[in-house]
């Protein structure tokens, strides 16, 4: 069961239309290590986690990723909603506009659509937790590239918040990995 909260996790401000930046940020909506992929992966991996702490963590981070997906969507929406067709063309978003107008759609910065093949749910808790730690680091790298590219300081502020969250999630998954190792080793002893 999920309940929606009618607010953003972190404020979104933009300094006017910027479809070029929107195109770049959209990647965190639809790339393999974007927010949708992260959320669905964590929520799906819960069912084969042996340790209750890891089940809780995947539930809570998987839910926070949905809030991040909403932040990304709010950024993109606000960056393109008042953009003129001329600006959209200049930003190279004309192909996207042809298919989706100014709607949100799950694609990466190069326009490739999201697919379930991007994510993994392997059943082995150690494998899955390592996968998640790698995904958090990959998402952190992408946020750093976006921060380097961004020409809107208000957008950069929101991107910095999201980047920090990747670091915290990486840390928590690392702790869950250690707890899971300890648990699996303990289980080997029978009396």
């Amino acid at each position: 069961m999920w309940v929606y909260e009618k607010k953003l996790q972190y404020p979104v401000r933009v300094n006017g239309p910027n479809p070029w930046l929107a195109k770049m940020i959209l990647t965190q909506y639809g790339e393999p290590d974007g927010e949708l992929a992260a959320s669905l992966k964590y929520l799906t991996q819960r069912y084969t986690m042996p340790l209750s702490q890891a089940k809780a963590l995947l539930t809570d981070i998987g839910t926070e990723e949905l809030a991040h997906m909403e932040i990304i969507a709010a950024l993109v929406y606000n960056l393109i909603k008042d953009a003129s067709l001329e600006e959209i063309k200049r930003a190279g978003l004309d192909g996207y506009f042809t298919d989706h107008d100014r709607a949100l759609y799950f694609v990466n910065a190069s326009g490739a659509p999201w697919t379930a093949a991007y994510i993994q749910s392997k059943g082995d808790p150690i494998t899955d937790l390592y996968e998640n730690m790698a995904a958090e680091e990959k998402a952190r790298s992408t946020y750093e590239y976006l921060i380097q590219l961004s020409d809107d300081p208000d957008v950069t502020d929101t991107l910095k918040f999201l980047r920090e969250r990747e670091i915290v999630h990486f840390q928590r998954f690392g702790e869950a990995l250690k707890l899971t190792y300890d648990y699996l080793e303990r289980k080997k002893y029978f009396y």
Binding site: E5, K6, E64, A74, R172
Partner: protein
């Protein structure tokens, strides 16, 4: 927003450190303040949560704009 973030981050920390009672006490203190702040927010701007998690006295304000992505900060 700040209170909610504090609670969320403490929540994730407690997931992997459930026996840290100092963090637990911080979390409970934060949760209490958050509940109070949400009550005040909702009395001004309408319900934050759907499905009956927030009351809606007098009028069905859930349908009111702005939605989170339309808010101008």
């Amino acid at each position: 927003m700040a209170l909610e973030f504090t609670c969320l981050d403490l929540n994730l920390y407690l997931d992997t450190h459930p026996e840290d009672y100092r963090a637990l006490s911080d979390f409970n203190q934060c949760a209490q303040q958050l509940a109070q702040a949400k009550k005040e927010y909702e009395s001004l701007y309408g319900p934050l949560l759907n499905y009956g998690q927030s009351p809606s006295p007098n009028a069905w304000r859930w349908v009111e704009d702005p939605w989170p992505w339309e808010t101008i900060f």
